[in-house]
Amino acid sequence: MTGVSFTNRVPGTKTSVGIKVSGFRQSEKVVVLIGHASVAGGTVNPGVVTTIENFGDPVNAAAECATYFGANSEIGEMVVAAINSVLYSDLPSKVFPKIKVVALAEDDDDLETLLGSLQSLPMPHVASPFPITDATNLAALKLHLEAISGHNRGSNGQFGSVGYIASLDELATASPLSIAAGTQFLAFPWLRDSSAAKANKVHEVAAAIAILMAANPVPYNPTDEVRAGKLKPPTNASDYHSVGDTGTVALGLDAGLMPLFVDDSGEVRISRAIVSLRTNAEAIDDAYYDIQDWQIMYEYRFNCYIESKTEPFKNKKLSDQKLRDFKSAILKIAESFERQGMFQHVAKLADQFVAIREEGNRHAGIVKSPVNVVPGFHQKGIDITGTNEFDTITL
């Protein structure tokens, strides 16, 4: 080696680093918006997946959507509501998720058929244009998300998914629907609005909340009291949710709804971002399952999957040694999650991380991870049926 000397340093030389700021930063996260095109339609046919180029600019995005789906389309309104939601939110860290849109024809309310043609499209967060009262389309989305969140979906899956179906209804109308649906795959943003002239459209509310969840970055901190930018408060103040331990926020959460409350300056905010899954009715108190905790678990599953598809595990026979090595690898992933503030007590619970063969299929490996490593996710572990202590993925 030549040319390296400790005597030729030049202490007076200044170094500067220029950082080019080139607009908004787009995150790796994806939100899928499904809505109706206009009667006239545009250049993009219904059912075709399109990515919005102007992901951080509501004005240009509206023009883009008018080209794709016709002027004043429902899907265009969802895109604008979504971008505004992030743009004017007060999330501590603001990133703009990739917005993928799929249009239904203007007179087509058949979500099941559309979703059937999108089985290979990962949709970690997806907003439906239909209200919670549309039982057929609610059931269709629930069924689809359960299916595509399966562990055997490979790189076309997303290891977990949340669908957003909004409600502007009365408590007595929305709560039985939410309780009946009760699933980790659906969240029901609830902004009660009894006025004939609604302040927001139901599809706008769904899009605004779906994108906020997708915009919440690692380490997926709680989004309690985060503002949904540009959502309007309900027309009548009597529709505002009452907060406190015995208000409609508490009652809505207990029913599996995600109440959106109005603060004293008229901003619409998330009370607590939960999925509609509820603990068994036999429990004294219902526990909530926060979306961000599922996001952590889904990201962990994804990392385990990616690890299994890279060297030294890729295309290798499933030997006992491979399983031992893989357990070591997933513990490293878990430790990395702990360093990022997503996991806790990994060293303490290391023995509970397991990589074993699947009983029914000796060629498949199973990874089990204790759910208690996700702070606040212990409710899943203490589900009184006692069957959810581990989060399991088959690789």
Partner: protein, 71 residues
């Protein structure tokens, strides 16, 4: 004053009454510190004094909307 500006008839809660929801409705309320569901299956007896302040408002609202009725 035009007809539409007249105040609506007042609804009040009885000191003690049984409530039942109309079909496919369910109203959760806080009663004696616990959540009680007024469903369409079986009437539940509630005491006004033991309803939380917010739940009294919600119950009146549900009665006004004809989602719940007192028996």
């Amino acid at each position: 004053m035009s007809e539409s500006k007249k105040s609506a008839p007042k609804i009040t809660l009885a000191e003690k009454a049984k409530y039942i929801a109309e079909k496919d409705r369910l109203l959760p309320v806080f009663h004696k510190g616990k959540i009680v569901h007024i469903s369409d299956k079986e009437a539940v007896e509630l005491e006004r004094e033991n309803l939380s302040y917010e739940s009294r408002v919600e119950l009146l609202r549900a009665i006004k909307n004809k989602h719940v009725k007192a028996q």
